[in-house]
Symmetry: C2
Subunit: 229 residues, 2 copies
Amino acid sequence: MANVAHLQEADIEKIYLCPLFKGVETAKLASIIKKPYTKVATHEDDTVLFKTGQKMNQLLLVLDGEVGVIGTNLWNKGSIVELLGAGTLYGAEFAVGADKKLGYDICTLENSRVLTIDYVKLLCDSDYRKIAPIISENLLQFAIARTHNLQARIYHLAQGSTREKLLAYLSDQSRQAKNTTFQIDLDRQDLADYLSVERSAMCAELSKMQKDGLINYHKNEFTLKKIKK
Amino acid sequence: MANVAHLQEADIEKIYLCPLFKGVETAKLASIIKKPYTKVATHEDDTVLFKTGQKMNQLLLVLDGEVGVIGTNLWNKGSIVELLGAGTLYGAEFAVGADKKLGYDICTLENSRVLTIDYVKLLCDSDYRKIAPIISENLLQFAIARTHNLQARIYHLAQGSTREKLLAYLSDQSRQAKNTTFQIDLDRQDLADYLSVERSAMCAELSKMQKDGLINYHKNEFTLKKIKK
DNA sequence: TAGATACTGTTGGTTTTCCAACGAAGGGAG
DNA sequence: CTCCCTTCGTTGGAAAACCAACAGTATCTA
């Protein structure tokens, strides 16, 4: 059950930090998030915010808690496609283009506070129009960054075995860090979820890979032992 | 070894059909593809066109043949992330934004004819500037459509078992067709590649699913037997 | 310091997938 | 029609992943 809530100081910060709003004057942004088409609400865990097939006409910013993007097949079996933690903005893609039908359920995974912006109304707002060019540009950057992230995950997920998934993921992390030694953000469970494998099996595979001399690791620090060719 | 080639009548058609150029006057488009920064070349199969880590400064349109996007890990093991068949445009994402580093190899999988547009030069062309607003808008649409496709594939790939992958994929196809009976575009091998499973194992699983009363199929026509709940 | 609470690593039995090989069912082409 | 070639389905042994249960380690708090 949703309850109307109010913006707190820390929330404003999260809004400003959204890539979509980068470069927008804070005063102008502040005026928008005080309009009536912007709402903040608290939801219990396991609350469905938007349902598959429905028209998506809201931007959604998670202020606290965790929200999941859930794919559901015709036999009503659901699975988490993406996690939206605090500070994550979702739905910007739907603000543009003809097909605004949502392909997933959006559902709270914990008690959460969520800000929503009705962008049909937003687009009509004359205050918005002043910052629209910046946001349009940001939206393009945002969409493109997203395609890169999604394509990377596809590369990782499409590998046949757990070992190959790990090697693909770790290789990309190493490239990003420009170093064969680097830290990763995810803990074992989150990494297993990201790669869609069992945590325990993944741990075992990491052990083997270390024994086989491919990698070294301790906690979240990994070193890749590239073979000369 | 790349050979310079020339545009044929059928090629022009493929260019016009690119979503990126939708709504652009054909005459204006024709003038651009005759500029020196647009090139057509034939390549033997297994030719690397662009390499991981290199700066991507070209749009790439496959005119004939097949080109693969290949992820390669630090141990030089490669795997196909995406297939680019005839008519496919690749690289538009890289024309915008700061990080233009390519994360994959682009490599021909057959003898292919490929058109490339150097977009650094393209962006400077005064003829291009006249159509730039349309292309910018198209690019945004293109990027967004791409995020939807990629997210869908992630949903399918992230399923734990072959059966679940198939159910997720078929459910989405059914939704698109707005019908529980529908045809799919992919043959068995392509579907198995898309879902990253073995073809034979997938065939066996389809059989079982039919025996279990979940689906019916014949060749590429499937019917989903949704359970009432 | 002791206890509670994550997070990580290990192990063994069960299930699923891979893999290679083969048989069956369709199309063309000669 | 027959032959060739491609696609689709089946099968059985080998390999890998799942799963549950448990042991080790670090951190935090009382």
